[in-house]
Symmetry: C2
Subunit: 211 residues, 2 copies
């Protein structure tokens, strides 16, 4: 049986991807610090594990076959939390995934994580954390997909995508709803090769962009 | 000709190791952001390169055969600087070192960097940064020595060392002056195997501890 562990399931993208997974009949384990924050997510195939990502959370991986890491310390917390969540919890998730023979690890990264020094000054510490977390996953030996969305917006899903970075930075955006759709697509995918993809709203279907 | 690049040469350990290198007749290149901070360091075999570790500093490696990374963002700066200096500048230093065929990379790490989750809560973000920087160096293919000193003090050099972690945490200390001595010892060493060593004040000589 396939079961997807969603790490950071009560976040802005996390909630949407969790609900979409449940709507599609997938078995999902939502890893959250506070399950009351998931009260508006509903589905018969949902399990919830409460754990703090700065503590041990290896037990959440039991019985899971796939991982979506969509946890983030958020814009309001300091860089100390960026180190503990975006970097360290991501690395430990990959380590736990190895131990539990997870078949596919889907990481929500960020545009610019490939080259932190080229990013805007105020983004560089965050991009360093994402870069190092991605590197750790790449070197883990796990089968992985690293998704690097453009600037995130809260608009409604557009259902149209691109993996080519727009020349105009202001167009390098994607809705959180569309990122959630892409994650569900990847979760159901059975490709065997690992990949790294930037993702924006654009003019193509998910199949065109992610196959 | 041997020439040692000291990254972070105007820091508390950096200054002492730079002066000791010069006193021993070694050729040293001091990489600092502001050379006026090195005005009290003297020697005929000293070169100074001014560069910001958050910018490009690859030119500092030219003509060098060895690197001592002793830069740190310091206790007064935020975790954003920990990400940019202790982690990212360290990773980039290893990358530059590879490009310049550096023969030996000596990293000043920290006790606890092996297992950040086991450290005191307030130290964990810093230990994550040091852990990931060490990992990057280990995987770089460079010949390396990673030194993990205990809690640093400003006492005078004791000249006696241990690589066994004391049971009593309050004894897991070492003076910065002794760390500087250890770095000079390592810089002159011609061992070919890489190693990771914790270092404290204790009852042994440097040769007994580091050979």
């Amino acid at each position: 049986m396939q079961r997807t562990l969603i790490i950071g399931a009560s976040g802005q993208i996390g909630k949407q991807v969790t609900q979409l997974m449940l709507d599609g009949g997938h078995f999902a384990t939502a890893l959250v610090r506070d399950k009351s924050k998931l009260s508006d997510v509903q589905g018969n195939t949902l399990s919830i594990v409460e754990a703090d990502l700065t503590e041990d959370f290896g037990h959440a991986f039991e019985g899971c076959t796939e991982v979506i890491f969509v946890a983030g310390s958020g814009g309001d917390t300091g860089a100390d939390k960026t180190l503990l969540i975006d970097l360290w919890a991501a690395c430990r998730s990959a380590d736990y995934a190895k131990k539990h023979a997870i078949q596919h690890f889907i990481m929500v990264s960020s545009i610019g994580a490939d080259a932190p020094s080229n990013g805007p000054n105020e983004m560089q510490p965050y991009l360093v954390a994402k870069h190092m977390a991605d590197e750790h996953l790449i070197r883990s030996g796990l089968h992985y997909t690293i998704l690097r969305p453009g600037s995130l917006t809260n608009d409604d899903a557009k259902g149209s995508f691109s993996d080519e970075r727009p020349k105009d930075k202001s167009e390098a955006v994607i809705t959180r709803a569309d990122v959630a759709q892409a994650l569900v697509y990847l979760a159901g995918d059975n490709r065997q090769d690992s990949m790294i993809k930037e993702l924006f709203n654009g003019g193509k279907t998910l199949t065109e962009v992610l196959r």
